[in-house]
Symmetry: C2
Subunit: 684 residues, 2 copies
């Protein structure tokens, strides 16, 4: 035994002695080395590529001779000729151990390889998807020992892959016989394992070795936008991303209007359910086309969404979510089939995972943010806000995690804003107002130049300047305040008061003119008093939610702030703080997590253990219900000013001094928006 060759695998460091002639794949399996294989060692899938190292390895105490592995064989030569093997690579199932050897498993040959995320602070995603491919050779039927084709497929999985028992999705069963015969009794099956203990289920099958890949959708189903990331379930790479407006907007812009629609219109909930499912179908077809794959290869989808969207997606009337005590029909995670959700573009057997909800107003999207940002692992106290039509807010550290949601409305997404639009080429996304000349300069999506830089106007000629998106309006309002064109109550001054004719009269209030192409038939983009009121309502709601969690935790400051959400990446921390969207922290303590809810969906898509993790985590998060908390109203009212009347903002004043102007015109409602809201408004 001790005279058998020693095999050391890197990077794992796992080692063992094996008889001469043992295939490297066999040795790796026996040692539990993470080496992939779909074909089970038949030399056809190429997943088990390894790189032998030769020479002296004092660290491992051995020297590898050039004949430590068997010679390059016919299978490898054929594979190399047909598809090419990188220099130095061998197929682990073909190369046999002949002497002491050090074998490196490159990242792409590891089953559980890590996917590096763009965000610098984020943890990597470890690949361990719920759906995996298995190539099998199935016994042909024998009249004298009659068994069903499925039973022989199950036997092959048991004998060739040690999979003790297996089920099959009903729609796959009807095609199984044809696939087996077309593949000459060699087929690839996709197995989905919902939970650790349950038998995996065949959710797809192909004749022969399936090399077309396997894909999953991570879907962030928001009230205003639906964003989907098509992910390669083998590599974890996002191969296409697309977004779509949620067509339910025609039933109501915010969640409560949609709940009202369901209450007022019999069958209205079913109408909204149909609408959103059709939109998901449209998005699925478009994203598959963009990636150049057939939707038949999309075998999984993970959804994150707020509770109202959650219920409308799965076909439950959301009426209970519109009134205290805001009871969810179910808060648990769900695994169901595309057929059950009547999603027609995905294969009927595709498996849908929906993250658990935290509470009646704190949904699976907040759970996804928690999964992505892991506040419970944070040593310092982190405030995480995911800004959308509803803001999901988490406050926590290793000691305790609190969560709430706050109804900010769609203003942060460019809706209910006079020149608002969603983030798309042509939309103003950043703006600066010169404190002296009061003139604006801006940047639009699709062009890296500022409007006062050479070549800007030529660069944007094709798209034009079409409107202002969420991050643009936030910056515009903050800049109006910084430039002294707006007082702390949010009133824009007149041309006389401000000394610039960009402040134009609009009814009894004033608007600030950013861009006027009306002479050429183009848009005239202003920030109106109504726009400012909409942003004030939204930011006050967001701030009040954060304060409520801080009250509950018994703190009046946090250590750091993470901005998440589809446009979180584009909000300037300085402007967010001038606006009073978030509590005051040092600027360098404000980071962006990008679309954290979408990332949480991607994590759950790529790693099945993460599903169990978030199911456990939601049970440990303390939920705060903003809708019935009197202090929420107090914080909301107090947060209306820019900056907060009650907050000295010492950190901020070191950076920018806000002018102490006042444009109070006395009496009257200064053209506030948000007529659907039932909240008290602070006096103007």
């Amino acid at each position: 035994m001790s005279s058998d060759p020693l095999v050391v695998f890197t990077p794992s460091g796992k080692r063992g002695r094996f008889p001469v002639g043992t295939p490297v794949l066999t040795a790796a399996r026996q040692l539990g080395v993470d080496l992939d294989s779909v074909c089970g060692g038949r030399g056809i899938c190429s997943k088990c590529q390894i790189t032998p190292s030769y020479g002296a390895f004092p660290k491992h105490g051995l020297t590898v001779a050039s004949d430590a592995l068997s010679k390059w064989n016919a299978v490898e030569a054929r594979y190399d000729e047909k598809r090419g093997l990188k220099p130095g690579r061998r197929l682990g199932c073909q190369a046999k151990i002949e002497g002491d050897v050090v074998i490196d498993v490159p990242a792409e040959s590891q089953v559980h390889r890590q996917v590096v995320r763009k965000e610098a602070t984020a943890r990597a995603i470890q690949m361990d998807p719920a759906t995996r491919l298995y190539f099998i050779e199935v016994d042909e039927p024998d009249m004298h020992e009659p068994t069903g084709d499925l039973e022989r497929v199950a036997r092959a999985l048991r004998d060739q892959w040690d999979i003790a028992s297996v089920g099959i999705a009903f729609p796959v069963l009807s095609r199984l016989q044809t696939i087996l015969r077309k593949g000459g009794w060699r087929i690839t099956v996709a197995l989905h394992s919902a939970t650790e203990g349950s038998a995996p289920k065949i959710v797809a099958a192909w004749p022969g070795l399936h090399e077309g890949g396997l894909f999953g959708l991570a879907i962030d189903l928001g009230s205003t936008t639906i964003a989907a990331h098509l992910t390669d379930l083998d590599t974890g790479a996002v191969v296409a991303s697309q977004g779509l407006m949620n067509p339910q907007i025609r039933f109501g812009e915010d969640l409560m209007s949609r709940v009202s629609y369901a209450m007022m219109n019999p069958g209205g909930d079913q109408e909204m359910t149909r609408t959103v499912r059709e939109a998901i179908d449209t998005l699925t077809a478009a994203i598959a086309e963009e990636a150049g794959i057939t939707p038949e290869l999309i075998l999984e989808a993970v959804f994150v969404c707020n509770p109202v969207m959650h219920h409308l997606l799965i076909g439950i009337d959301p009426v209970e979510l519109g009134q205290a005590p805001f009871a969810l029909a179910t808060s648990s995670s769900m695994t169901l089939s595309a057929a059950e959700l009547s999603l027609g573009i995905l294969p009927a057997a595709a498996q849908i995972y929906i993250l658990p909800c935290i509470a009646g107003h704190v949904g699976a999207d907040a759970a996804a943010v928690a999964l992505s940002e892991q506040p419970g692992q944070s040593p310092d106290l982190a405030l995480i806000v995911d800004v959308g039509t509803n803001a999901e807010i988490l406050l926590g550290d290793t000691e305790r995690v609190l969560a709430c949601s706050s109804p900010t409305g769609p203003a942060f997404e460019g809706a209910q804003i006079s020149a608002g639009q969603r983030a798309a080429p042509g939309a103003i996304e950043a703006i600066r107002i010169d404190p002296v000349t009061k003139a604006p300069r801006f940047r639009v999506i699709g062009c890296p130049l500022w409007s006062d830089e050479d070549g800007f106007w030529e660069a944007v000629a094709s798209t034009g300047i079409t409107g202002i998106c969420g991050s643009g309006i936030i910056e515009a309002v903050a800049e109006l305040r910084i430039a002294g064109l707006m007082d702390p109550s949010g009133l824009i001054g007149s041309a006389e008061q401000t000394g610039t004719d960009r402040c134009v009269a609009e009814g009894r209030t004033h608007a600030y003119l950013i861009h006027d192409a009306s002479a050429d038939g183009g848009p005239r983009i202003t920030v109106t008093q109504g726009d400012i009121r909409a942003i004030q309502l939204a930011k006050s709601a967001l701030y009040a939610g954060a304060r409520l969690l801080m009250d509950e935790r018994g703190v009046d400051k946090v250590d750091r702030v993470v901005l998440a959400g589809a446009f979180g990446a584009h909000i300037s921390p300085l402007h967010a703080m001038v606006l009073g969207m978030i509590p005051d922290v040092p600027l360098e303590k404000v980071t962006s997590a990008g679309n954290a809810a979408g990332t949480g969906a991607r994590i759950a898509l790529c790693n099945k253990a993460a599903r169990r993790e978030i199911e456990r985590m939601v049970g440990e998060i303390s939920k705060i219900e903003t809708a019935i908390e009197p202090r929420f109203q107090e914080h909301f009212v107090a947060a209306n000013a820019i900056p907060h009347a009650t907050d000295p903002f010492p950190e901020l004043s070191a950076i920018v001094t806000l002018p102490s102007v006042s444009f109070n015109q006395g009496g009257g409602d200064p053209g506030a928006t948000g007529g659907r809201r039932r909240r008290r408004r602070s006096p103007a």
Copy 2:
């Protein structure tokens, strides 16, 4: 402890001591006594009725005083007033133990009570259905401890019924919130347990205590007829039975013609699948109407069928079953939802169980016969034949069980017979021919009188005499032979040869006139030479299958014969033996098991352990494939004559002496039917 009162339950004999004040239901549960309860002891469901016995019980060693149980209380009084309690009965959840007592649990209060079957030889069915009702009181939602309504339902089931974990059928989830609120947080759920280890699933829910009952369908899906028995899942009683012609007949009368239709017509399999599912919907609606219940209460269905019908029901192209090696897509049992089978009249969450198939030509119907008739428990060697369009044949005893199927064609069901019709009022079901006068007398379905008895013609005036059904044609052919009107090769003699003008010329052959109402515009019912050939082909196939199993077992006689099938009960054993349908045994050893396949379906419907039992049994049955067995052809040819040329039939000749007539006309095909069959025919 030892001074606590002693409680003895009958009929179980279970006994134990309990503190004074313990409710009888509680004592029963702790002892594992089989005492039903849906409401969990709340005094509203009345399922736990018991009868205390008073006086001296030397056998149990105790004397029961009249105050051994607590006094009749208000709950019992209210229940008695509202619905009535039988004299001597108490509610087990209300009556409390005060002293030593003997308590009888009447049959209708036992969960696992036995259902007596009509057939004298049959075992009783023990009730243990997969779906049961549970009444629960659910906590109301609390905003400060947010959980979903479903999660609180699960908690109630855990706390009130010790059910550790529970799932929910997706269609029920969408109605759960409404039901909970309508019931004031008191609801009844129906839980379905598919297998021992898996978590039960909520498949229906009602506000408050559901008292409308719970039903299941046992469906025998034959090639020619579909028969359904609507069963009360509480009592096991069959509350309605109905049959329907299988509308797939228009695609082909026998199984192989339907397989051919699928092969020749693209999409033909799906067309046949749609057709049979629609027929099941029609039958479900009709049977529910007959029973006066809403189909929403039918929460289970069990199907038994041959492999081709099995595949067409579940939506699998049966093409592989039409050619060797006759591979089934799957042979395992299946549990799926009505929605998955697109059965639209049953509730979407209704659970469908389909029995396992034994082999490519031996289906779930044969498995059901095995479950009903238990050949593996028989000490003597039993031959069980289930006669339909396909005959399922089982031969076995405690040592070994063999099975095959034989393609008899639909003649035994009255199809392919000139005056044939299905068994319905007006059909001739029995016939005798006077050996002297050669005149017939007969009985029709719906009238107990023979046609030569007084009052017969008046009794049948309303239905008329419409045709001849399966058992009628078998008797007619056998009687023609007994009366000397037909020779052993199956030829009917002419009027001259037989001396009766009832033998009329029909083309080059002769027919026997049974009934002629054509003068009044009614039918003219004859047995033609073609009819006899159809019956000869059918009975030869049946006999050859039985012989094949006997060869395999190495015997040339069996101890007993069980005739099963929809019309098995109506076949006269004497006539079956004259015809040579079955091997020769003493007449008293031929019994009828009625519709054994349908009974097997009922057993699997009423008792979930029986499902595991048949799944185990099919693995132990040896399957014989008749289609490729050369000896089948030999037996088939040899069996064509009436009686068998090679078989002395000593038992039979003791009863009836068959005449040695011969009506050979020399040469030519005597008008045989069965043009579609590819079998060799014996020389006429």
